[in-house]
Subunit: 306 residues, 2 copies
């Protein structure tokens, strides 16, 4: 199961209804956190997310509303009782733009505590989207985008999988077992003197692509990283009529985000990171749908099953 | 008007119901914030407190659950539109234990932002309660207490005020005006050839004392700073039966807090900073009342008008 939970959908400042940025991606029980604004660990708790499941944190940039919840989360993860008993350290991979190692060290030095989490920090600086991490089941790509400080956009790409049609396989006399395993992994098998090709009994299930484009002004990298996204999560601090302000602060309007979704041929656009000036975000949603009908505005604790 | 708002009443880790430590004291519209754990600025927003009113922050110690909301609050205060227009910097006095200046600098360096708040930081190290700040209307005292890192307790002491009984003054022929002003400020006046002493027509209204004893193990300083408190706000991470654990982590049980309230002759004890193990805090409240009947457990957004 892949599930996205929006932990905070306000830009810059938390409001009564919206916390600052944090997005949790649950991939088969493993947690990937995109940004960690102040209060994220509590939002996870309220959303029923086990904070100890986080294995990867993707930091877009070091503005406070995207990172100042990191210290609380790292402390809470380190202080969990299981680790206290075994002395084992939870490992967390952290990716972020240039300066991430130094900023993280300042954060760790800002409070009195013994860090019990093993942090593996990598700084990324990429002009075109490239692989930064992969497992057997998924890969993560990143690219620089254009904000007022070094900033990254990320994509999570589930790998394609071959799925055997057990009905078709059964007709050839094949049952669960090593033959099926081989076909599933794309290899041909010899069965009762006959060669069976994987495509005869199985098909490729395309992996899903989820893209996170947070603080940025429109730029070619935004389109490149978003190509063919199943879910494109994108900032839209302002409605379309505020383009001047968006330009000044290197943010996006609903129109700009929707144009990128259209150009990148995304399937669904989810807007987030709204200015506190908007009590409701209907205007932003309407602006986006005028250009890209499959648009929706996120709200805190919204979940998307992918 | 003096009003206390509890912004977070959980120890160490936020729970669904309780955020980490933050207490807001509104003294006639001026804000004094005692500790600023992660999420405090949002709690203020939800409580309807104007974050821009904060003029003084009293930091007890540098454990994350007491300070990691500082960076968000400082950014939000600096970015308010009025300041952006005038270029004026909001001034905030910050008091904290040894190391406060260095830790604050790490916090400021952890995020990318231009600090638009003028921070006046003072480090305090006092074996007995002493004055650290005063205005015409109140004074603040502090003292070291005993936790696992340098930690302070604070008291807010409203100054006594003389109040003229206009009925009594009227009988002597005195009406609003300079004579009343003089009597109010404690001076005698000559009226129609007769000397009038302040005590004849006025009386002293005792100022209220509010004390904040957060993370600490019981120690003589806790009693000294709490003497004759009208409101004594004190940590009680654990119920009485958990004294061993409280000792180990240099915290207090309900019994220990109540004994201090009794020894200090406080009028009312308000317990806070509860371990997340307690889904309800009835046990803690009952334990405390057995020793000090005027005890109550705080909850998030509880307000006390003093």
């Amino acid at each position: 199961m892949t599930e996205i939970t929006f932990l905070g959908t306000s830009a810059m400042v938390p409001t009564k209804e919206r916390n600052v940025t944090g997005i949790y991606l649950d991939y088969k029980g493993e947690g990937i956190l995109i940004d960690c604004g102040e209060g994220t660990q509590r939002q996870m708790n309220i959303a029923g997310i086990n904070r100890l499941k986080v294995r990867t944190i993707l930091i877009t940039h070091w503005h406070g509303d995207h990172v100042s919840g990191l210290i609380g989360l790292i402390q809470t993860m380190g202080n969990n009782e299981k680790n206290a008993e075994t002395g084992e350290k939870t490992k967390i991979r952290i990716f972020g733009p240039e300066g991430t190692k130094e900023r993280m060290q300042h954060l760790l030095n800002s409070c009195v505590f013994q860090n019990k989490v093993d942090l593996d920090i990598k700084e990324i600086n990429l002009k075109s989207p490239e692989l930064i991490f992969e497992t057997k089941e998924y890969s993560i790509e990143a690219v620089n985008v254009k904000h007022s400080t070094p900033t990254l956009a990320y994509s999570f790409i589930e790998k394609d999988k071959r799925k055997v049609d057990m009905g078709k396989a059964g007709k050839l006399g094949l049952k669960e077992g090593p033959y099926i395993g081989k076909l599933q992994s794309g290899q041909e098998v010899m069965f009762k003197g006959k060669k069976i090709l994987p495509d005869e009994v199985s098909k490729i299930i395309k992996g899903k692509k989820i893209v996170f484009v947070l603080d940025t002004t429109p730029c070619p990298s935004c389109i490149e990283i978003s190509r063919e996204a199943d879910i494109l999560i994108m900032e839209s601090v302002y409605a379309t009529n505020m383009e001047e302000k968006a330009d000044a602060y290197k943010h996006m309007t609903a129109q700009q985000a929707a144009q990128i979704a259209h150009q990148a041929n995304a399937k669904k656009l989810v807007l987030t990171h709204f200015s506190q000036r908007y009590k409701t975000v209907e205007e932003i949603e309407t602006n986006a749908r005028d250009i890209f009908p499959e648009s929706v505005c996120a709200f805190d604790f919204m979940k998307i099953k992918v």
